[in-house]
């Protein structure tokens, strides 16, 4: 934690505050103004990109708590998003629940499913846990296709438009604002969960779970709490993406998404809340680059080249980050901030 010289804490409250200096408040105000005015000048594609990136940020915040802070590797995050998405679709279209009740309910349902599949984490960790969560994804996927009466099977379910206290949310601008508010909320919640007793217990479990247990951290309870919290974020994100597309289908939650989520954590910086945002934006932008290059490549190589490239570019980014900057963009950014604070010394 580096602060400019001349910043003193005289009360505990000041010491704990996230925003410490006037400059930070000014930058925050500028950021809020930038985001609030975004739909006024951003083009349609940029807006779509930001909505999807916002939804992904919510989901990856959950994975960051689970994997980045508690050290429980999960490769089934996309499956938990699927649970949230289907919960939203079923609650809204079959039971007629209003959107603002269904959204937290979808998060809770995904969280409970997360606890069920988190049970093996009490005995296993590392690679074994990755395999358990991979199995979780495929089992959820299979169950969704089996219960056709409820989920619509391969055809999927259509989801009615969100209705927020009489205001129908339609059009990209209103979606952008809704996702923006929720993504900001998710960021604040994630940041603060990590500063509580539970957050410190998570980090202790990540660094050495046996030592944490000896120190009096209840592994059983905190590991399941981490799964619950991580999957609630995933469920909310899944529900939002289903709501945005207006349709729910298993194809919306491919297995490789969970892999990209882990990649976003690596590129952004494991365990860091700002790293989540950096990572999501970096990987998503690389995907956009691949799509932009697509038409040129399609003539040179083959019509599918853009899809291939959108696999290759982020993968190479992950490989390079693993070798050359394993602590991610968040660490590079921190070093840069330290550098300019000390400049010219």
């Amino acid at each position: 934690m580096s602060l400019p010289s001349g910043t003193f804490s005289q009360k505990y409250g000041q010491d704990m505050a996230i925003m410490r200096t006037k400059t930070q408040w000014i930058f925050l105000a500028l950021l809020v103004a930038f985001l609030a005015s975004f739909p006024l000048w951003a083009s349609d594609t940029v807006l779509t990109f930001s909505i999807l990136a916002g939804i992904t940020i919510i989901s990856v915040h959950g994975l960051n708590i689970l994997t980045g802070n508690c050290g429980l590797l999960s490769m089934g995050h996309s499956g938990f998003m699927m649970v949230g998405g289907y919960a939203m679709a079923i609650l809204c279209s079959k039971l007629g629940w209003p959107f603002w009740v269904a959204l937290p309910a979808a998060g809770l349902i995904a969280g409970v499913v997360g606890i069920v599949f988190g049970l093996p984490s009490l005995r296993i960790k590392g690679f074994y846990l990755i395999m358990a969560t991979v199995a979780a994804y495929f089992i959820i996927h299979w169950l969704v296709l089996q219960f056709r009466d409820l989920t619509g099977g391969t055809e999927g379910l259509s989801v009615p438009r969100a209705d927020l206290f009489g205001l129908t949310i339609k059009g990209k601008e209103s979606y952008f604002y809704m996702v923006l508010v929720l993504a900001v909320l998710a960021t604040v919640v994630a940041k603060n969960i990590l500063r509580t007793r539970a957050g410190r217990a998570f980090v202790a479990i990540r660094d050495n779970d046996l030592a944490a247990e000896v120190m009096g951290v209840n592994l059983w309870s905190y590991k399941l709490q981490a799964f619950f919290i991580g999957c609630v974020f995933a469920g909310v994100a899944g529900a939002l993406s289903v709501q945005y597309i207006g349709f729910c289908n298993v194809e919306q939650f491919p297995f490789f998404d969970s892999v990209w989520f882990l990649g976003m954590l690596i590129v952004g910086g494991m365990g860091s809340v700002s790293g989540v945002i950096f990572g999501v934006l970096a990987i998503k932008l690389l995907g956009q680059v691949a799509i932009r290059l697509g038409p040129a490549l399609a003539e040179m190589v083959n019509p599918q080249a853009a899809i291939g490239l959108s696999n290759i570019l982020p993968s190479i980014a992950i490989i390079l980050f693993l070798i050359f900057a394993p602590r991610g963009i968040a660490h590079i950014w921190q070093r840069f901030k330290n550098y300019y604070q000390l400049w010219p010394f």
């Binding site: 093996p120 005995r123 296993i124 299979w142 089996q146 490789f256 070798i323 394993p326």
Partner: protein, 297 residues
């Protein structure tokens, strides 16, 4: 009863392919403690390479196999040197993420090179031998897969037992520091482990594509083979064979008998290995033949 034996025979052939893929994984894990999630993608790429060699280039089968193995050797060397060597001593997640990123690159290469389309090996490209045992007929592609995978597995086991480099690999698996002290180059052993893993992956890929064609979703069999690895124990080659065969047979028998009872037509074969995997992880996380490690703080 014929139906049952039919399932068992196809399951045996599928199981040997699982075993072949699982062995590639186990060898890397034993030698370098790295988990290779990209194993399934070697299989998928192997299928496409085999297709190119056999169909557009019209190579004879033996030449195609040699060429595919040569490509696999180069692939193994490149992957080990460029991607895995810099990560020696890094945490588990870094190595896992590296192999996942490799999986992404391989998938991308397959889509760019072959359009990610379904390619079927035409009849007669792989040799035709058929066998009929008391009403149970074995399809030629299944039989070829069974024979070749048995040959490869036996060859690998002999190599580990009787050759000097096999001994070096077993020693490195036991204790890397001591092995270095005894004058064995650990880097050579790592490189060889990746080469073997790529070769078994590519061979399994060609065999699998002979049975059911090749497409990008072939990589999922690699994930199923990980269930085999977990059932057999992460560091046991014999365990991989036993678990591979039993899981292959169980999978086909279970889906053959239970699928008609499922509400939406089943598809149990797709999920069965994962159900077994979860059960094994909860009940006996080190697998049937795996070494149980005691953890100290």
């Amino acid at each position: 009863m014929t139906f049952f034996f039919q399932l068992v025979v196809s399951g045996l052939s599928l199981g040997m392919m699982y075993a072949l893929i699982a062995i590639g994984f186990v060898i890397i894990f034993k030698c370098s403690k790295a988990f290779n999630i990209a194993q399934g993608y070697f299989v998928m790429l192997g299928g496409y390479i085999g297709y190119t060699l056999l169909v557009p280039l019209h190579l004879p089968v033996w030449a195609a196999f040699i060429a595919a193995i040569a490509i696999a050797v180069v692939m193994g060397l490149v992957i080990e040197r460029l991607a895995l060597r810099p990560l020696v001593g890094q945490p588990v997640l870094a190595v896992i993420m590296m192999t996942i990123a490799l999986a992404g690159v391989i998938e991308g290469v397959a889509i760019m090179g072959w359009g990610g389309e379904f390619k079927n090996y035409p009849k007669g490209v792989l040799p035709e031998i058929s066998l009929e045992l008391g009403g149970v007929s074995v399809s030629p592609s299944n039989l070829i897969a069974l024979i070749v995978s048995i040959i490869v597995v036996v060859a690998l086991m002999l190599m580990f037992r009787y050759t000097k480099i096999g001994l070096a690999m077993r020693a490195t698996a036991e204790d890397e520091q001591v092995t270095r002290g005894a004058g064995i180059r650990a880097t050579t052993v790592y490189a060889l482990a990746w080469i073997i893993s790529c070769v078994t992956g590519v061979v399994a890929g060609i065999l699998l594509s002979g049975v059911s064609g090749v497409m990008t979703s072939n990589a999922e069999i690699g994930l199923k083979a990980l269930a085999v690895v977990i059932l057999g124990g992460l560091d046991s080659i014999g365990g991989a064979v036993v678990a591979g065969v039993s899981l292959g047979i169980l999978e086909l028998v279970a889906s053959g008998y239970l699928d008609p009872l499922m509400p939406s037509g089943g598809g149990l074969a797709k999920v069965f290995p994962f159900l077994v995997m979860i059960a094994v992880l909860i009940i006996k996380p080190h697998g049937l033949f795996g070494l149980k490690r005691i953890e100290r703080i």
